[in-house]
Amino acid sequence: MAADPAKILHVTFMAAEAGFDPVKISDYYSGSVVEAIFDPLLTYDYLARPARLVPNTALALPAITDGGRTYTLKVRPGIYFAADPAFKGVKRELVAADYAYSIRRFADPKNRSPYAFLFAGVAALETPDRYTLRIRLKHTDLNFSHVLATQISGAVAREVIEAYGDETNSHPVGTGPFVLAKYVRSSKIVLAASPTYREHYWEGRKLPSLGGVEISIMEETQSRWLAFQRGETDIEYQLWEIAPTFMTGDGRLRPEFEKRGIGLERSIDAEITYTFFNMQETIGGQPNPVGGFSKEKIALRRAIAMAYRVDDQIRIIRKGQAIRARYPIPPGIAGHDPEYAGSIPYDPRTANALLDKFGYKRGHDGYRTLPDGKPLAVRYSSTPTERDRQFDELWKQSLDSIGVRLEIHKDRFPELNKLQDQCRLMMRTSAWIADYPDGDNFMQLLYGPNTGQSNNACYRSAEYDRRYEKSQRLPDGAERNKLYREMTRLMETDTVWMLGDSRYRNVLLQPRVAGFKKHPVLATEWLYLDLKQ
């Protein structure tokens, strides 16, 4: 059975998309549509957990040679782009050169791609024949296959890109299961099953089963919730603020919704939040009270981390819809260690004792001073949003409990990013969402040479860096996991980060939705879904 035009899936986005040109986007919403329209060489098995790479338009997984520096793939012949005037009526086959072109676009400064960093390691792209793509990397990278499975690595056709010039964001043409049928920017995105999509069978069913997907942009939670309850939408991904309305305390659907046949799929997002300390001795020429590797500095950072109430963060700010992060790699990502026992518990009593021991004396006002008697004030940076104000309050209360004076520094998001890249923030809470399901994507956040980019703490540890460089040369497995554990312990010993939480994703499904299983990496499941009549 081919796609049934009567089966239209209705979903919502809680924020507007930026566009659908794979090189120009970085938001989840645009990525979801890009995933439906474009085909990367590799993808993930829909049902396998943890996520497992499988070929998509490639005939097989890449042949990795040259010690992890050369990737060779064969594109499956007979795959065609969706019809478009740019092809001038000619049926256009997908070839290896399309992938080479698509990857080169990330390096083109004109495109100012937010994901250029993923392809920064590409040294050369070769297409020895029509269907063969050879990617040569500058350095060994055993995770590059994951990059080839990202939604943004889908192939675009040069003719289309050249034909639409600056308008490529609104003219996506790919080889994927859906085509863009109607587009009202920031309001409605209608996808239709692509009539030229290849013969793709899964569990005996030709994909896609859906005739189309209608996406409505609804920023307000109340609108999304009411629309779902009225049956105007089929899947609701983003209702964590009102989760207690439809969920019990133990994470199950309330009986009244169960009776209506509504389904709940609960999973943990492939992300962590963490609060980093700037590890540099000085910030902008001024002494940094939390920076450096002396014992008293480590004691201060550790005491701060031990005083912060992560459980309150989850209960109050996350409304119970998160779990405490105990490892830098979240669950569901290769390298995660569920057995790891963190060495920084919530323990304000010990935190106070630690500060007393290292000479942070309390003054008359109850606040501590530095061991040399100078005033101690820790500056925490956040944006002027309601959510961040909640974080400010929790940090203030936590640090008051150990007599450490907290100053809140407010600035706009881009300015904080700028200061962070310049190592000029003392403390800030950040989040990292997996770009691909491998621990390397998280462990690189503390790698010294990434200072000024993703290493927000500006942490430089020869021990950590040596292990990280070694881990990059190892495939996922026990040996690499051992290194990750050691690196995590080093991070804790130096107390560079205070790990926060990983949020739950609660997906609500109407009874007619069939075949849904939340994938830890794929943005959407539309390709595999069916709607009961």
Partner: protein, 312 residues
């Protein structure tokens, strides 16, 4: 008349320059560096520098300001930094949905509030006046958010009289199906302050000598109210109505967000969230120009309503 028109148009220039300067200073002061917003999760200094160069924010301030003035003169604000969409296209596509809601909203709200205000003024201190004023006080005490949330929940979700949200592709569908509830909410919000304001306009007129004279001459009450009082009270009412329109275009973002209407207000909020300066610049300039034009139109309308008005 022509001299007046030319003088007023000439006055647009310094006003607009003031707006331009204010927007420019505010954006550069509080807007943040957009390169860090657009650069993605990991960017090196070269990428940041490249983005700054492409956006033109690496130029000296006076060059950026001059480019801004050039954009106003040519009417071409370039493309959105966030989506690459032409700013002119953003306005062309968002104006229709905004007007589909705002025109009926303004029309209904004005007619209803004028009727209520006239009744209250005519029955001053009697029970209709008191009832209307109590209603206005209550109405004004309620936040627009409460109106939206309650009306959406009761009228759309519980009773199913309207769709919870949405926007279609035909004008009729949008006007009669999707705009109905947003218009009701908008009318509810503006009814109370407008009625109070218009009541005071009517009361001013009712106490004028010409009304007493008309009554003394035996003119019927409906004629006194509808012909004489209404005509004279119309000048400040017209001013109020026209002055509301430009602000409403950009200011109706709450209604547009809750009801998923792809209008200008929603786009403005999106632009602010994304530090999308080309869109912010264009909105501010367009609203400033619209306000000035509407001001001028209102002045010209005075003359049409009341020939005694002298345009100087």
């Amino acid at each position: 008349m022509l001299a007046y028109l030319i003088r007023r148009l000439w006055q647009f220039v310094p006003t607009l320059l003031g707006v331009v300067l204010l927007v420019f200073i505010l954006f550069n002061w509080i807007g943040g560096d957009p390169a860090y917003l657009l650069a993605g999760k990991i960017a090196n200094p070269e990428q940041i520098a490249n983005i700054r160069r492409q956006l033109g924010v690496d130029q000296p301030y006076y060059v950026q300001l001059w480019l801004f003035i050039e954009q106003i003169a040519t009417g071409d604000f370039g493309a959105s930094w966030a989506t690459n969409e032409k700013v002119s296209a953003i306005f062309a596509t968002r104006l229709g949905p905004s007007l589909t809601v705002l025109v009926p909203l303004l029309l209904i709200s004005t007619l209803v509030s004028m009727g209520a205000a006239m009744l209250a003024a005519y029955k001053r201190a009697a029970w209709p006046d008191r009832a209307i004023m109590i209603g206005c006080t209550l109405g004004q005490s309620v936040s627009i958010l409460v109106y939206i949330i309650v009306f959406q929940y009761v009228l759309a979700y519980q009773l199913g009289w309207f769709p919870v949200q949405g926007w279609g592709s035909s004008l009729a569908e949008n006007l009669f199906r999707y705009s109905a509830l947003p218009v009701i909410v908008g009318v509810m919000v503006s009814l109370a302050p407008d009625t109070r304001l218009y009541r005071s306009f009517f009361l001013d007129e009712i106490n004028q000598d010409y009304v007493r004279t008309a009554r003394a001459k035996g003119m019927s009450e409906p004629r006194v109210m509808w012909i004489h009082v209404l005509r004279n009270a119309a000048i400040p009412i017209v001013t109020n109505v026209m002055m509301q329109l430009p602000g409403l275009l950009a200011g109706a973002f709450l209604i547009e967000r809750f009801f998923s209407i792809p209008g200008i207000g929603r786009e403005v909020i999106l632009a602010v969230e994304r530090s999308d300066f080309p869109v912010i610049k264009a909105v501010t300039v367009y609203v400033a120009i619209a306000t000035m034009v509407v001001n001028l139109a209102a002045d010209l309308l005075y003359k049409a309503i009341d020939p005694r008005v002298q345009l100087k």
